[in-house]
């Protein structure tokens, strides 16, 4: 009985499920998914003859509904890594078949039994040059309302990043961030809460900064990269940039598992990763990809900014996801 709702939901969603020679790739939309389509789906279609349908944005609730209802319409999904670790534990994901997906060159930081890296990114501090006088140099400046007045924009959802930013700005050394001191982080965030505008999608973060609606923000580096390519007058600081990864997963019960595995192999191949990095500004998860990329692209990626770089702790987040999320949303609603 408990599954009826999930079943009905999934049944409706599965109305768009792919045929045998098709599969569905789901990601976050915008410039990132465009780059994924161009770099991964198009070459894969050409080589395998399997048509890759695009869907999105990624929705963890939908993914759960599909798996529980036994009617899975998505075959490969781009998700945040801390979610992937938890979802694997909850039995929502297929194990990756590493006889199909070559593992040797994949960055072990982003490879698990149930997920392979999609790309990795950094949160960087970006600003609209017309709306800010002077140059912010680090996260602490986002908490300095006197020196840098104006709205600031942060990622709305409970996820690795903002808590760490607040703690760093409050003087916690980078190597002492974990376990996270939530009380201290929220106290620090309280000092600028009235000036925060939240962004809930990458496209929105770009729009807020480009229009000057928010003067500064914590943005995904690829979104800043795309803004600059479009000629927007934005600045970015890589000081204390924070890396996290998106990974690719296959929901349990995928009807096109074999194609999905082959898609993963293709997407994480040196060539697929190199093409995507060049198109998106995100870093490859395949260590052999750099050889395939122009030198100036390599220099612009997150792994060229390791000085002062902070790796967000995905395992810590996966373990504490629910507790932190509850505090996070309660604090936001206050």
């Amino acid at each position: 009985m408990k599954l009826i709702l999930a079943g009905i939901l999934a049944g409706l969603l599965a109305a768009t499920a792919a045929r045998a020679d098709e599969m569905v790739f789901t990601s976050w939309g915008g410039t990132t998914q465009e780059a994924q389509t161009k770099s991964w789906a198009a070459p894969f279609e050409a080589s395998s003859g399997v048509k890759v349908l695009q869907d999105g944005p990624t929705d963890y609730g939908k993914l759960k509904a599909m798996v529980e209802g036994g009617s899975v319409a998505w075959d490969v999904v781009d998700v945040e890594m801390d979610f992937a670790i938890k979802a694997a534990k909850d039995g929502l994901l297929e194990p990756i078949d590493f006889t199909v997906v070559p593992k040797a060159d994949l960055d072990p930081r982003f490879t698990t039994d149930h997920a392979v890296g999609s790309f990795y990114y950094s949160f960087v501090l970006a600003w609209n040059k017309g709306a800010v006088s002077g140059e912010p140099t680090g996260w602490a400046d986002m908490f300095d309302l006197k020196k840098f007045p104006g709205k600031r924009t942060f990622y709305k959802w409970s996820a690795p990043g903002v808590i760490e930013i607040a703690l760093l700005a409050d003087g916690v050394p980078a190597d002492k961030l974990y376990p996270l001191d939530l009380d201290r982080a929220f106290k620090k965030l309280d000092t600028i809460k009235s000036e925060i505008v939240w962004w809930d999608s990458g496209a929105q973060s770009q729009q807020l900064i480009a229009s000057g609606e928010a003067a500064f923000g914590q943005l995904w580096n690829g979104r800043v990269f795309a803004l600059k390519q479009d000629g927007a007058d934005v600045g970015a600081s890589w000081n204390q940039n924070m890396t996290a990864a998106d990974v690719l997963v296959i929901p349990k019960g995928s009807k096109n598992k074999a194609s999905a595995m082959k898609f993963l192999a293709s997407a994480t191949s040196p060539k697929g990763q190199a093409m995507f990095a060049e198109a998106s500004g995100y870093a490859p998860v395949n260590t052999a990809a750099k050889a395939e990329m122009p030198a100036d692209v390599v220099k612009s990626l997150p792994d060229a900014f390791v000085d002062g770089q902070i790796n967000l702790d995905m395992n810590y987040w996966a373990q504490n996801r629910d507790t932190i999320a509850q505090r996070w949303y309660a604090w936001q609603a206050k």
């Binding site: 709702l5 009905i8 929705d59 963890y60 609730g61 409970s158 999320a325 949303y329 609603a333 206050k334």
Partner: protein
């Protein structure tokens, strides 16, 4: 659209099964309703008392936690404000429509209906463009020197109210026009002849006579506002979160479906209770706009 305006506005009309024979005809509809409404609602209720473990703990959490209490309060606050403002804006419009020559009236009526056909998301985004700090309204006011700092019109209660009132207006105007048209204009003339000022005539004649329409539209707007998601999410800040937004968060982000189902069930019960109350207070006839 013809020149004749419908006197009975299309509001909350419940199909009433009067005879046994009528049941046969209603069977397909009943099957659809039970399949797509009753079954999911039962499943929802079951989920709320079985996940993660059997019991009422989800309801205990919702009623015992200050955050959720704030969201509940906020939901009713926003719905009340939106309803009140909508009534105030809709009344003059409805009155003008009611006394307008029919040909002109149907044009205005068409414009109002047309706005309802435009995609909700599009309309809400349009408000974002107008209301934001760098938006049309703030830019204009700053250019002509009326203000030096942008007014905070978005990401707060002001933004939510403006956006929602705009969307709710037709639902208030339609039943109200029906009620106002049914009022005999001679009653107002009689009031004037007896020496009542226009304000008195409004307060003691027009307003009481139009109460059924206000009640019907007001209830509809209030109930729709309670469950609103898109507009508060886009035009409000996180501190203006309403129930629907909270439920979405529980389902999508926290993946806590037990808690989300419990919250959704509470919203459903409150909504149904309000409708029942309305039926009792005003009566079926009046709720559906008949006078």
């Amino acid at each position: 659209m013809s020149g004749n305006l419908p006197h009975r506005p299309p509001v909350l009309r419940k199909p009433v099964v009067r005879t046994r024979r009528g049941l046969g005809g209603a069977l397909p509809a009943l099957i659809i309703v039970s399949l797509f409404f009753v079954v999911p609602v039962v499943a929802l209720l079951l989920r709320s008392v079985t996940e993660p473990t059997p019991g009422l703990q989800n309801y205990a959490i919702l009623f015992g936690d200050g955050t959720y209490a704030r969201v509940f309060f906020n939901t009713f606050l926003v719905a009340s404000i939106v309803t009140a403002v909508t009534v105030m804006v809709a009344f003059p419009v409805a009155w003008t429509l009611a006394i307008m020559p029919p040909a002109l009236g149907s044009i205005v009526f068409g414009i109002i209906i047309l706005s309802m056909w435009t995609n909700l998301l599009t309309r809400t985004y349009a408000w974002m463009v107008l209301l934001q700090r760098t938006g049309v309204i703030n830019r204009t006011l700053m250019d002509i020197g009326l203000i030096s700092e942008p007014l905070p019109l978005i990401n707060n209660l002001t933004g939510v109210t403006i956006g929602m009132v705009y969307i709710m207006l037709p639902f208030m105007i339609l039943p109200l026009v029906g009620t106002l048209r049914a009022i005999d204009p001679m009653t107002l003339r009689a009031a004037a002849l007896c020496g009542a000022s226009p304000l008195d005539a409004f307060r003691r004649i027009l307003l009481p006579l139009s109460l059924p329409g206000i009640a019907a539209g007001g209830l509809m707007v209030f109930v729709m506002s309670l469950g609103y998601f898109v507009t508060p999410t886009l035009l409000g800040g996180t501190s203006n979160m309403m129930l629907a937004g909270m439920i979405a968060q529980m389902i999508q982000s926290l993946l806590n479906w037990g808690l989300g189902s419990a919250a959704a069930f509470i919203l459903l019960v409150v909504t149904m209770a309000l409708y029942a109350l309305q039926l009792r207070l005003v009566g079926t006839q009046r709720v559906t706009g008949g006078v």
